[in-house]
């Protein structure tokens, strides 16, 4: 069951086409990476999902229903451009934002207390936001995003501007929320920052979706069958299934090599071949990062 499906969504501004026929589906309780460079159209798609703007064409379904105002309450949105009322007290601010999401004041009070305790911010509840450090303000911002226990959490560039300690803390909180049933969309141009977290990925470039699927599928389909091997003693010759692309003497009789295997062979085939000829010290399959895949698609697209 998909919590969110977007079908053929398009959106244009005056002369500029921000989204062109983009379709994605996001399974429930998954972590979904919406990837692409700046200006690709990620924020436009997110704003459409949040009903801040409307698509020109196509439609978006949440839990199988057409997007409608009641969905606002099940989405938690942390925009890339974020901030808080500087002159407002932390507690009042969270209360206001929670009530806008439809929480009663009584329920909101309990949850605010719980979250402030969890992130060790209780004593700051009566302080104005302008008196907080940047890291604390970021935590408050995160609390405001999740207070209403959203089923769908949309985080636009979540880790930009967060210091490493807070970034880790927030990452843990996000994983915990997922365990409790939330679905998470990460939107980012820094693909390495979310690569380990995401199970599903869609890539957007120049208003168009250029790739999507599970991370595993994508990586598998972009396997280059290249291996990095460190070994002792020179390799004189390999069978025809393998090709030495590059060798390098590290020290004395230690060497490092990049080996290309024929498509369809598995790592054990190469290992077996190597064990007979040399002493293997390390053996790594060179799997392209999402970032590499993205670059290769974009550059491939340019050439064609």
């Amino acid at each position: 069951m998909n919590i969110l499906e977007a079908h053929h969504v398009s959106k244009s501004y005056a002369q500029h086409r921000a989204l062109n026929d983009v379709s994605i589906s996001i399974p429930k309780q998954s972590i979904f990476g919406l990837l692409g460079p700046n200006g690709a159209g990620k924020t436009t798609l997110i704003r459409i999902i949040n009903q801040i703007i409307m698509s020109d064409e196509g439609n978006v379904l949440i839990n199988g229903e057409k997007l409608n105002p009641s969905h606002v309450k099940i989405i938690g949105y942390l925009p890339e451009e974020r901030g808080l009322y500087k002159k407002m007290k932390v507690g009042e601010q969270l209360m206001y934002l929670a009530q806008l999401k439809g929480l009663s004041s009584g329920e909101a009070r309990i949850r605010i207390k719980k979250w402030l305790e969890k992130l060790e911010l209780t004593e700051w509840a009566g302080k104005k936001v302008e008196d907080l450090s940047k890291g604390m303000a970021q935590k408050i911002q995160f609390i405001a995003t999740v207070l209403h226990e959203p089923k769908l959490l949309i985080l636009d560039e979540p880790f930009s501007g967060f210091d490493p300690v807070n970034a880790n803390l927030i990452k843990d909180e996000i994983l915990e929320l997922r365990e409790k049933g939330a679905t998470v969309i990460f939107s980012t141009h820094r693909m390495e920052s979310v690569e380990q977290l995401c199970e599903n990925i869609a890539m957007i470039n120049k208003s168009q979706k250029i790739l999507d699927g599970t991370k595993k599928e994508i990586k598998d389909s972009y396997r280059s069958d290249k291996y990095n091997v460190q070994y002792k003693g020179k390799i004189s010759e390999l069978s025809g299934d393998f090709q030495l692309l590059e060798t390098k003497n590290i020290e004395d009789d230690m060497f490092e090599a990049t080996i290309q295997a024929k498509a369809g062979l598995n790592p054990n085939d190469l290992l077996r071949e190597l064990i007979n000829k040399t002493e293997v010290h390390s053996f790594i399959e060179l799997i392209p990062s999402i970032n590499d895949i993205f670059i290769s698609i974009v550059e491939g697209g340019k050439k064609s």
Binding site: N50, Y77, P79
Partner: protein, 439 residues
């Protein structure tokens, strides 16, 4: 609706809880009358305390003990102008009035010159006028006597007339009108609307800008429609202004009741006295209090108050929405200046035309401007105390409602796009494009 209310509540509470609001609300009704009181107090006190010496050098022989202007002590002498100047220096007098010999025998002569006033510092214009008048009155008296006319006969020739004005309704009822009071009320209420548009309009703009520059607006519009956010803001800030106004009305009403009764020693007493026609027994203060109450009874307080609140709110919605639109379009208050002109211009036009309207409250200019929604709140308030036909009032109100619904709609279309645009160099063309843009 609930969302609008939440936004409204936040805008209202954050403002009302500020100390500056409390101070401005409580002190303004106290400070304004205090300033007037202080001015009046010193104005009257000045004359009595400084008994400046003035020497009257009279070469005509007609002026003995003629001058009695308060605030001055007069000393009369004869001799040459040089003697007078010497005496002035010696006695450290403030001034010297020089009266040359006057020939009053020639009946054909009506203008005399050679009079002069010498003083160490420039005398006020009013003092000079007073002296001039005293001199000419004295000479007229002397000439009268010389002409053989009796003072008594002359007095009996007086015919004083006072023109009382009444408003006659269609039903033939008549009510006493008072142009001076109408002028004051018209001017006061019109001016108050003018001030409020500026003060609270720029508060709305500031509030929109704050949300935009602090970047919280995208979080907010993911829960609230931009139009709801804008309306909540306009209503919330408006409610603050309305609260302030009500407190002022109550405070000023209370204070002036206290003031009037202090003057008259209890309004009930005055009323009783009025009923029994014992005005002769009343003190001067009581008489004044009675006059004030009589005046207040002549103006349609209910109608004015209702119209004032209506036009006040109408003007506020109309301009408040426009201020919100400007705030949404720009990134800083400096950038806002270029878009302020079309908002400020009609307000300034209204406040400047107000003086002409007060002179001729039923003239063509007055009627026209009191129909146009951008100027009608100020101009209609200036007209109402003088009496406005009901159909004109009703038409003006309907047009104002149409006007503010229109500007709110227009502002909403700009606002919904503007709040999400950062770092755009905005000009009129871009704003026009936002207006037609789909969301």
């Amino acid at each position: 609706m609930n969302q609008i209310f939440l936004v409204l509540k936040r805008e209202y509470m954050t403002r009302v809880k500020k100390k500056s609001f409390l101070l401005a609300t409580l002190l303004t009704p106290l400070i304004l009358p205090s300033i007037i009181f202080v001015i009046v107090y010193f104005g009257t006190r000045d004359k009595k305390s400084n008994q400046d010496d003035i020497i009257v050098l009279d070469q005509s022989g007609y002026f003995t003990d003629t001058f009695n202007e308060s605030g001055y002590a007069f000393e009369y002498m004869t001799g040459s102008l040089e003697d007078g100047k010497a005496a002035m220096a010696e006695k450290e007098a403030f001034g010297l009035i020089f009266i040359p010999p006057v020939d009053l025998e020639d009946k054909a002569k009506t203008s005399y010159d050679g009079f002069a006033f010498y003083s160490k510092t420039n005398p006020s214009f009013r003092v000079l006028q007073d002296f001039e008048k005293t001199i000419s009155t004295k000479l007229e008296d002397v000439k009268l006597q010389k002409s053989g006319l009796d003072q008594e006969v002359l007095k009996s020739l007086d015919a004083r007339v006072s023109l009382e004005s009444f408003n006659l309704t269609d039903e033939g009822e008549e009510s006493k009108s008072n142009a001076g009071l109408s002028y004051a009320i018209g001017y006061g209420t019109g001016f108050l609307i003018y001030i409020f548009i500026f003060v609270y309009g720029s508060q709305i703009m500031q509030s929109v800008l704050d949300e935009k520059t602090s970047r919280i607006v995208e979080v907010i519009v993911s829960s609230v429609r931009p139009f709801q956010l804008m309306m909540g803001k306009v209503l919330g800030v408006g409610a603050v202004g309305f609260t302030q106004l009500l407190i002022w009305i109550v405070l000023i009403g209370g204070l002036s009741t206290v003031g009037v009764s202090l003057l008259g020693g209890g309004s009930q007493e005055v009323m009783d006295a009025m009923a029994q026609g014992q005005s002769a027994d009343l003190t001067q203060g009581q008489e004044m209090a009675m006059k004030i109450q009589e005046l207040i009874a002549t103006i349609p307080v209910g109608k004015i108050l209702f119209s004032f609140l209506f036009f006040f709110l109408g003007a506020y919605f109309l301009y408040g929405a426009l201020y919100a639109a400007v705030g949404s379009a720009v990134d800083s208050i400096q950038d806002a200046q270029q878009f302020m002109l079309p908002i400020v211009l009609p307000i300034l036009a209204a406040i400047m035309s107000m003086f002409f309207v007060l002179e001729d409250p039923n003239g063509g200019l007055a009627v026209t401007l009191s129909m146009i929604p951008f100027t009608s709140p100020i101009i209609m308030m200036a007209r109402i105390p003088f009496g406005v036909p009901d159909w004109q009032l009703a038409l003006s109100m309907i047009l104002l409602v149409v006007g503010f619904v229109g500007t709110i709609w227009l502002a909403g279309r700009i606002y919904r796009i503007g709040i999400l645009m950062y770092g755009v160099k905005v000009n009129w063309k871009i704003i026009a494009k936002w207006f037609t843009m789909k969301v």
